[in-house]
Structure formats: structure tokens, C-alpha cells
Symmetry: C2
Subunit: 472 residues, 2 copies
């Protein structure tokens, strides 16, 4: 993701000189003293990852944030160093021995080719127990399983301008979701308020609370930068896929591809960004125009007619160029080079509270949204076979791999394994990561067709849709 | 449409006592002195419709706006009275004799059951000639047909709170589109600026200019109320369907239904409306809250937790009720009863510049958008048969008729006529209008299944997709 944030990140507002006091963490979930969210099935913390360190000096906090990899990889200090090696770019997966991930989930990751010092992707896979609480209106809560309920949770976090935000989100976002789900009522609902819409609302609120916590605690916990978040929650027969950023989720089912997310970029969110600049021109600081032009307007074109697009237009029309049209456009560039305020190439995610426009104090955060789009997939509406999977990947995968190529790899790899071999999903994740990374040649990492492989961090989850039954 | 604007319309800001001075019309197109936009093929003005009346006293202007029906109906004064009869509700169509509409288009309409004095729907069907002008950059324009180009145009305008806006739009919107299309370049285009995106932009701009003209000239021309606008442009092999409001367009092609528009209502545009209220709280005047609750919040619930939705949420979550949550919700009600600021049930269209919240001076126009959604259908990608049609209808049709029922009627009526019988499309339009109106019984107009028929104005265009070849 680093390549999607321009050098402007060097202008991040510093959090000060000496070790700042740790803020008193308000409610659960918090960054320091939260009890483990996962039930006993959850993997243990690796040795390299310090536990709670409520009075840790700044250096320890930085080191922890910089080097951590997902706990379920169970990396030793030596393994952690190998995972951090840009030259070898060894693919990492959970060990064959030891406890498998829930649902026999497959996972693989690889560090970038040198664009950032550490792997700024993070991942989380947990079974989360939600303890019910008494309802808001005083009615007793009727839990669906004993005294509470469980949800399954997978999260991919693609950091930029530092790994802190992704690391914090990977540790805490599911706890925010758990808190929100404590309110889930079981009695008849009003109006169009369905059970599903409450889970969606809980996830949406959790993203916002996570973002607010990052803003609150960014000084104390070195939450530099920001991250995209792609999260899956399985609860009561339904899969909720929540995406804020440019990661992607697809279901491959009997060879068919079902998109489960959309990417949020300056191009896909042009109209939202322009509308905000139009309604709140003070956010543009007199430096940018909310209008879009096919190319940068030249001073000599003042008074001439030129094509433009406003916030409420999908087509192009003509306008007479005025003085303020000479400002830099709020949204510029195309494809992977599209940028908001010439700085950031992704428009949703968590963090980025300190991000400023290059050579300016203008904040960019007001244009970024922390709200995910949530899509729902009903697992009970289809009888899934062991080859039906939900694939989650950071943009490192999708930049060089199409949906169809992923579906072909799903078919190829899974058909080489017995349907009941639980290692097949990890093998598939590894194959996808390897296929996107390529092999080292004279001029960089190359794919078999000699095109450039992805030099980005690459992380992939493979979730078999056989459901909780496949959980070992 | 009248039923979708509450009694608040009685609070429309009056345009003053005596006959106001007519504003000097600025550029073409304007309301008073525009030359005919249509080529010689266009139907003539009916006797009942006065021509330009630049110094007409107020009474004449009102009478013209109140009583006019589409020129192509060629109604005599007696026919106009019959078309205006709420008791008989006779279905109106262009006469069999005389010039047929372009493309053998079918049309039928019927007045409401008494909800408003006159039929507030309006319609227009024209062939419009666009004269090229020299390009903005000085390059010579290369017209596609001789010195210019032609487009085919159909428009349905569903007025509310008076017929003035619909009447004005039906006379002028295609002229605004013509003006915008004069800029259509024929040389290679930059970036993602396609020919198609320029036509879309031209239509979008034309809607905005039409709306601005209504604001400018509303006093002089009695443009009371507002209107939904559903417009079709055929140009160079493509059909552009532009919709702002709650009319609907579908294509019925070999029995398949292809939606060509979406409705814009307080429910479908909830998030846009809430975002505006959130970013510009001054527009809510301290009287409304931009948050949505499943039901009206009671003062005794202060401090309790309740379900809510904010502008960036699709699901529901909980919040603690505060004092300002007791305000009336910006968006309330469900289905056909959904309202913005308790007043209007449609969120896009033209006009409504004087609309105020009931018992308040708070303007509603800032929440209404004049921008259409434009969908494009490439006529050349499919070999259409004479039974493939584009159906346009105001909400009077769709309130009581589903897409599938319309498709069934298309099949039933067209199969009863020879494929080359040009009257079959008018027969189809009449069948649809009759089917939505029903027949008078003891308690109102009833459908065969005894459900209530539509008491609204109903207007339907049937456009055969055989293309300009079928134009007689």
C-alpha cells in the first residue's frame, strides 16, 4: 500500500519528542488492557509480541508495532526476521503442526520488495464470544446460545505510511464489533429493522469507534499512518463482508465468481469527494478545486471553454475557465495513480488522522471515510461443496491477478488435494501469494509471463464455505 | 403526483399581488420567445394553446399553464374540456388521422380522479435539429449530417403543487439539450471523455439549466410547484434515458425486462439527504434532525438507548437519546408516504423553488436535486423485433402496475396486432393506462381484482426499439 501514499507522508505531524504519557484508556475495547477476546481455541501470542505494556517506554511500543506479525503464524524470533526479509520474500503461513485456524481457513502472506521497512499488512482470525447484556428497554435478553453467542471473524488490514494503524486494528476491531453485538436484540423488531440490519449497523459502528480510538490514542500508541480494512463476520448462518479501502473479497463457487466487495479509491469515490469539497469549500483551503478537468488547466486558458465534471455529473460538459479553476484538482490521476489532494490513493480506511497535504498543513482526513460497505451472503441458501471458497486479498494480490485468474488457481490447487485434506486451503493461499509475487530475476520480481510481479505486501485468506462444520 | 406533496404546498411563497412584470428573457431557450425547436415534422400547436404572449396579462398566462395538454394530442377546445373531466377520465391519445409521432411512438394519458383541478402530467415528443457551432478551441466542427445533427426526444413530466413547472419543462427542456449538444465535438477526445459521456454531460447540464431558468422566471411565468422529469434522447445509435423523480422506464425485449431508471424518493435517497443535513445543519433550521429513528422519539426517552441510522450507515445501531434527537426527522415515513421534512415525497426534479416546510419558512429546495441519473442503451448491440419496446410511465402507472404486469400487457396487446400496424403502440399505451385507471364502481376506480386503481394522473409512452427506420 505504501506506493499509494505519496511522499507527503513525510509531513506527518510528529507526535512530539519524549515518550508521551499513555492516555487512560476509557472503555473496552482499548489498546492496552483488553482481556483476550478469543475463546480458548484462539492461538497464543508469539514470543516476539509483548503482552500488555501499560507503562512501556516509547521504544518498546515502536518495536512491537514495527515487527509484529499475526499471532496465528506463531513465528519465533528467527522466523520473524525471515518474514521481514525483503530479499528472500519467503511466503509465510501458519505451521502445519499445532492448532488449525477456524474453519480450516487458509492463510499466506509475503513482505514487499523493499518499499517499506516492514510488512505493513496485518491479519486476524478469531472466534469471538459475545456475552449478552440486558436490553436497553429493560426487556431480558434471550441469548441464542446459552448465555451469549459466538461469531467467527477474519480481518485483513493493509497499512500505509507506517504499520501502526493496521497493527492496532488487527488487535482491536473485532473487540469493538463484539461490544456492538452485545446489544443485538432477540425480540420482534420494528419497521424495516431486521436482525441482519442490526449486525450490519454493529459492524459499521465498530469501524467508526475503532477510528475514533485511533484518533484518541494515536500519540500514546504510535498509531502512525492508516490502513484499509477488509473484515468478514460469520454469525447465525450469514457471512458479512465489510470493506473500507482497496482490498477485495470474492466468492468462488462452483467456478462462478461472486464479488463481495468494491474498492474505494479517488476514482470510485469521485462524486462523494467532490460533493464534500463543494459543500465545505473551507476543506480545500483555497489550494484545490472540487471540479474535475480532463487535464490540468493552464493559466493561458482563462476565459476559454473546457470540459469539466462536477459532483453531480457522470458525463462531461463545457464551462468557461475561471481563476479558481486553475487550482490543483481535488481528485487527479487515473487508475493506481489516482490521488486525493495529490497525496493518497485510497479513500476509505482507519487512521490517517495526522495526514496532511504535501507542503501544506491542509488535513486530508475529512475526505477519508472510515465506514465500510457491508455485503451479506446467506450461507444457508446454497449447499456448498469443499471447493467453494471466499477469497480475501490485499491489493498486492489484486494488482497483478484478476478475479478469473484467482478462480482458475482455486480450481487447479483444490483439485490436486483430497476434499477432506484441511491443508488444501493454506496451499491455495500460498499459491495465490506466490503467483502474485513471482520470482526474482535480473530486473525485479517477475511473473511467468515476464510481467512485473507485485512489489507490495501481499496477504490472502481462503475461507471454505462449508461453514462452521469444517472448523477443527 | 399531488398526493406526494403535503398540504405544505398551500404555504408556497406567493408571487405577489398584481401581475408582475415579465422578466427580460436572457438567452435562448426561454419561456416566451423561443422559435420552434422542432423541424417541420413536428406537430402544430393546438388551437387552445396560445402562442407567444410576451405582454399577456396574468390571467391568460395562468389559463394557458393550467389547461394545456401536449400539442401532439391536437385537442380542440371541446376535446380539451373532455380531457379535463375527472368524472369520465377518458383516455387521450393522438388522433389516428394526421401525422404519427416519430418512430410510431404510442402515447396515452388520463387525468386524475379529482386530486388536482387539472392533469399535472405533461409530455413532449420531438425530432430536434442541432445546428453545429465552431468549436471552443477554434477547430472547425465536422457535423455528422450535413451542417448539423438530429436527435429524437421524448419527455414525461409529472407536476406537483401546480402544473406550471411540468408545462414549462415540456416546452423547453429539449431546447436546453439542443443548446448543450451544439458543443459536441467530433475530433479525438482526451482521457476517459467518450462521445457517450459528452451526451450524458449535455443532458445533465440541460437539466440544471432548465431548473435555473425556472428559478429565474418563476414570477413572470407562474411556474408554481415542481415536476419529475423522465426524458429519452436517441442519438447516433444510442438511447439515453435520464430520470429525475419517481417516473420509471423499462425496456421489454423478447419478454425480458431491462430497468432503465431508478426512482428518487426520500427512501432511496436517504443517505444523500442525511449527509447534506449533517454537513449543512443550518438547512435543518433547528427544526429537524438528520438522524433516522425507527419511530418518533418521545421526550420521556431522553437518555435511553435507541436504534438509529446516520448518513453513512445502511444498518441500524444504538445511541443514547439526546435533546436534539427529539426534533422531527429529516426523512420520515415509508413507501409512498415517505417525506422529506414532512412535506415532499420525491427528491429529484425541476422547480419547487418556492417550496417551504409546512408552518415554517424553511426552504426544501436545497435537499432536492435537479440532476438526473442517465442510463445508456446501445440500440446497435441487438437486433430488435417490432415487439421490443421502451415503456415510459409516470408513477400513476407504476403505483398499481408491476414491471411484470406491464411486460404481460406488452405481449398480449402487441400479439393482437400485425407487426407492421403502426397503431399497435398507441393501443398498448391505452391498454396500460386503462389497466392502471380501472373502472368506476361504488367506491372509486377499481381494477378487475377489486383493488383500487390509480387516482393519479397517468401518462405512458411506448417507444418501439426498431429505431428511426420505423419513423413515418
Amino acid at each position: 500500500m505504501l506506493n499509494r501514499v505519496r511522499s507527503a507522508v513525510a509531513h506527518l505531524v510528529s507526535s512530539g519528542g519524549g515518550p508521551p504519557p499513555r492516555p487512560k484508556s476509557p472503555d473496552l475495547p482499548n489498546a492496552t488492557s483488553a482481556p483476550p477476546a478469543a475463546p480458548p481455541e484462539a492461538p497464543r501470542s508469539p514470543p516476539a509480541r509483548a503482552g500488555s505494556a501499560s507503562a512501556a517506554p516509547r521504544k518498546i511500543a515502536e518495536a512491537r508495532a514495527s515487527f509484529s506479525r499475526p499471532t496465528f503464524l506463531q513465528l519465533s524470533p528467527g522466523g520473524l526476521r525471515r518474514a521481514d526479509d525483503h530479499a528472500g520474500r519467503a511466503v509465510q503461513s501458519p505451521p502445519d503442526t499445532g492448532r488449525r485456524l477456524p474453519w480450516s481457513t487458509g492463510y499466506a502472506e509475503v513482505i514487499n520488495a523493499g518499499k517499506s521497512r516492514h510488512n505493513e499488512d496485518q491479519a486476524c482470525c478469531e472466534v469471538v464470544y459475545v456475552e449478552g447484556r440486558r436490553s436497553v428497554s429493560g426487556a431480558p435478553r434471550e441469548p441464542s446460545r446459552g448465555q451469549g453467542l459466538c461469531f467467527y471473524y477474519w480481518g485483513l488490514f493493509d497499512g500505509h505510511a507506517g504499520g501502526g494503524a493496521a497493527e492496532m486494528a488487527s488487535r482491536l476491531l473485532h473487540r469493538h464489533i463484539r461490544e456492538q453485538l452485545k446489544d443485538l436484540p432477540c425480540w420482534p423488531l420494528q419497521k424495516e429493522v431486521t436482525h441482519e440490519s442490526l449486525v450490519v449497523g454493529a459492524i459499521e459502528n465498530a469501524f467508526q469507534l475503532m477510528d475514533e480510538q485511533m484518533a484518541r490514542e494515536r500519540r500514546g500508541h504510535q498509531v502512525e499512518g492508516g490502513c484499509c480494512a477488509l473484515v468478514v463476520v460469520y454469525l447465525l448462518g450469514k457471512v458479512y463482508v465489510a470493506n473500507a479501502g482497496d482490498s477485495r473479497a470474492i466468492i468462488v463457487r462452483n467456478g462462478e465468481i461472486i464479488p463481495m466487495s468494491q474498492e474505494f479509491t479517488p476514482e470510485t469515490e469521485r462524486q462523494r469527494l467532490q460533493l464534500l469539497g463543494f459543500l465545505k469549500p473551507e476543506l480545500l483551503g483555497g489550494e484545490f478545486t472540487h471540479l474535475e478537468f480532463p487535464r490540468r488547466v493552464q493559466p493561458k486558458e482563462l476565459g476559454q471553454r473546457m470540459l469539466y465534471r462536477d459532483q453531480n455529473m457522470t458525463g462531461w460538459a463545457y464551462k468557461k475557465i475561471e481563476l479558481e479553476d486553475l487550482r490543483f484538482p481535488l481528485v487527479c490521476g487515473e487508475g493506481k495513480k489516482a490521488r486525493v489532494m495529490a497525496t493518497i490513493g485510497v479513500t476509505r480506511g482507519l487512521g490517517d488522522h495526522n495526514l496532511r497535504v504535501c507542503s501544506s498543513t491542509l488535513p486530508i482526513k475529512p475526505f477519508l471515510s472510515c465506514f465500510p460497505e457491508v455485503r451479506v451472503y446467506d450461507l444457508t441458501q446454497y449447499e456448498h461443496c469443499p471447493d467453494d471458497v471466499l477469497v480475501l486479498g490485499t491489493d498486492g494480490l489484486w494488482d497483478v491477478t484478476s478475479d478469473c485468474e484467482v478462480a482458475a488457481t482455486v480450481d487447479k490447487v483444490l483439485s490436486a488435494y483430497e476434499p477432506n485434506d484441511p491443508s488444501r486451503y493454506t496451499a491455495l493461499a500460498q499459491a495465490l501469494v506466490l503467483g502474485a509475487r513471482g520470482t526474482p530475476r535480473d530486473r525485479g520480481w517477475r511473473l511467468p509471463n515476464n510481467k512485473l510481479g507485485s512489489g507490495d505486501d501481499i496477504s490472502v485468506f481462503i475461507i471454505p464455505l462449508g461453514g462452521p462444520g469444517s472448523y477443527s
